[in-house]
Symmetry: C2
Amino acid sequence: MSTPTTVRNPSDLARVLPPDVSAATFDTAIGELIAALGEDGVHVDPELVGRYDDEFPVTGDLSFTASAVVFPATTEDVQEIVRIANRHLIPLHAISTGKNLGYGGASPRVAGSIVVHVGKRMNRILELNGKFAYALIEPGVTYFELYQAIQDAGLPLWIDAPDLSWGSIVGNILDRGVGYTPYGNHSLWKSGMEIVLPDGDLLRTGMGGLPGSNTWQLFAPSFGPQPDNLFEQSNFGIVTKLGIQLMGAPPAAETFQITFDNPEDLEAIIDLMLPLRINMAPLQNVPVLRNIFLDAAQVSRRSDWYTGEGPIPDDVVERMKAELNLGYWNFYGTVYGPPPVVEQYLQIIEGAFSQIPGSRFHTTRTRPHSADDRGAHTLHDRHRINTGIPTIEEANLMNWLPDGAHMGFSPLSAPDGADALRQFRMVKQRADEFSVDYAAQFVIGLREMHHISLLLYTKTDPAQRDKTLRLVHELIDEAAQNGYGEYRAHHAWADQVAATYSFNDNAQRRFNERIKDALDPNGILNPGKAGIWPARLRGRGL
Amino acid sequence: MSTPTTVRNPSDLARVLPPDVSAATFDTAIGELIAALGEDGVHVDPELVGRYDDEFPVTGDLSFTASAVVFPATTEDVQEIVRIANRHLIPLHAISTGKNLGYGGASPRVAGSIVVHVGKRMNRILELNGKFAYALIEPGVTYFELYQAIQDAGLPLWIDAPDLSWGSIVGNILDRGVGYTPYGNHSLWKSGMEIVLPDGDLLRTGMGGLPGSNTWQLFAPSFGPQPDNLFEQSNFGIVTKLGIQLMGAPPAAETFQITFDNPEDLEAIIDLMLPLRINMAPLQNVPVLRNIFLDAAQVSRRSDWYTGEGPIPDDVVERMKAELNLGYWNFYGTVYGPPPVVEQYLQIIEGAFSQIPGSRFHTTRTRPHSADDRGAHTLHDRHRINTGIPTIEEANLMNWLPDGAHMGFSPLSAPDGADALRQFRMVKQRADEFSVDYAAQFVIGLREMHHISLLLYTKTDPAQRDKTLRLVHELIDEAAQNGYGEYRAHHAWADQVAATYSFNDNAQRRFNERIKDALDPNGILNPGKAGIWPARLRGRGL
């Protein structure tokens, strides 16, 4: 990251301008934006703009600080914003609600970008269809809001919520987030998008291209190529409407927790898991395997256990396990169906994992949550998430450290015990070297695992922040050398991650650049996102 | 379609040249192709090239006739072919095996194109992985071949076969074909593609971009946008490798047939079906609803029933139903799981559809196939297809008429009784007007139906062919006026179908053209496919 044009600090709230844009040009653009959106739709006040800084900062400077924020109310507003940006070559950074903690939050990749907060005013549920089980939504709709609308309508539909439901559904899908029910692969369950292209043109994908069609949210393709997934993790357009298909509520569901004593059990856990998962039965949902720190952080603080320097010692970990009645690894999943099927599946799962010495099997019925049993907290919270009920309990993680934050390091792996153990050891060893706490979560799809490594630090402590940043930089390269790639990353290391996909002289990046230049010749939309730079700003070291 | 450069007839096998290409330039290109591929890799003999004509011709001229055919053996060969075509501005038409009956077969959209028969020599199964249940294949691998390889390896994996298994898996997926097991949405179950771009560059999508990764066939995206679906039904690249994920064989499976007496039962059938299907239980697979003509054509000929002019009279239809013990509509599906679950699901399904007066429920056990019960033929053939066993029995359809062929008219619809009935009446009424037999099949996904209307004609009868062509042209426009779009089409009406997606001045087509021009500036790859023309040939009326 280069130094931004202007440096701002709390006592000197000077303006941060985009690259190559003069103050006069910027002011002209702001004037045009006000003419289009009204005074209350355009903000340059540093205090307000500062709210769009990364909540979990990874640098101490203004590398990821915006110049302004705008609030479109309609698709036409978004088109007009894009046209103004094209005229003045001002980079835009579109967000839905701006969560995305650990990956940059609401902050732009290029300092001085104008944040287009699409979801601020565009937050309607345009359709909620009980018969065909889908919704058509605007970017501002949160998981909580869709859940509430479903309850209000009395429909037997479930949402598939991520760990924290306060954010935008559209934003989660576009950053390729995952959930935990059988609809956990969010990218698969979208159908139909309305997209403002970087030149202001308007595209509706799929059957939305056919006037009068009633299948826009039922069948994602149309005739010819299907571009929808081009708009995930990219800077090719601003999504203004999106269809999401919803799971029907099953007759019954029950959630289990299986605790495993030893870090080395990981290999056996994953190898036992795969045959139960790959056919979607009995492990029907996206189960998760979490280490003790992630579960402990839901109900306690680091200082409750240890106040010394360096990594938390083994004897303290043993005390955590004993007091919380948890394992080093804790596995959560939910089974669905008619009650007899639920019972049968639970028995199969319990039987399979009982082969690992020391494992203990619980369900929400056998282990109620109480003040005396804090270790049951996550079991009951996962039950809510896995049965379509939004929560924000996982935000407790931020209390583990004072002013707590985390950086996400998220390599993919095969659902293979040897791979899991190799990844775990790699991250654990490096994190211990850097004295960074590592809250681990393996999120398990049908044939792959997202290894979500949450590296915890105190965001107000520059030394902790800097070492965590260095740690992640090292991990990305070490992972790539072992054949592991990240599926998602903070924009601080987007270029680095993109570079690891190096086959044929980085063919993927070169392909993305060709698409970028074709759709966004002036390079105004979200430059640098996912390592994709437009021709105008490429190679500038921004 | 304009007149091709040169007209050829059986007694005058003159060369068909591509637009704007002189015989001398063409010969130079052929010379370069021979230098690259060897004499036996390049063919201009009209007899051999004629084998790539549409097996089910829709016009009587050479609108869709190739100039040459080439057989690459490696990805590098494909890259070299593309480079030669760029130098001489010669359109290419890439095929995997060249089936695709009813949608153009192996024939190119632009007369005089060189057919690149990728699958002829590139037909290896590069990997077959039992643990993670996937295969990595080249374009020439057929469903039969993959099935045989799985049997030879003794793996408990199923293929998801289309109606006819003689064709290429890659070709089926790229034209967005469907199958009938729970893995029936073929587009969803691919993971990882290797693609030669129109300028000869080589892209590997997903985790194939990361050297040393073992997850190329496990997780389809990588970091950043995912372009895979851009290469379905498009002319943006030539796929040379593709990963396909495979279903694990369940403990048991049973197939049922439910017959319904009256055409008007359609509405009730679909409305009863939806709640059983949308949650993937008890209707776990992609079921099909077929009309009497499609089933009768498996075991008899039209002339066995009727030799008069005009549509087949109602009393003859009644005789068919009685003699074959079939309904006007016949519904086929399969349930999977442990035997008690299979039994339970069959009971639910039988109970639900028994609400329709006159319906009869059979399974492969209650209705064995015998010479005395020809109406059981399709039940047993569907059982094979729905349990991962490839067949080509459905090819019997081509014997319904002498020199039988069909044109596919394939509109999408909601899985709604009213939509189904409206579509059926529309096609039936028009087909009766044109005296064309209409073999109907509704292929039922989770939230949509592919209404595959097979319009049957004698391909050697110009009058029959021409009226069927006119019929399809009328149906496309009539469907669009009612909000129904086609998901697939013969290239004779690709432009017409693409035009029906008319939202915002055909934003979809304009978007596709921008991608096309960025990736294929010389417009050499498959011009006109899915209505996408490169700048060089756009608006030429080719």
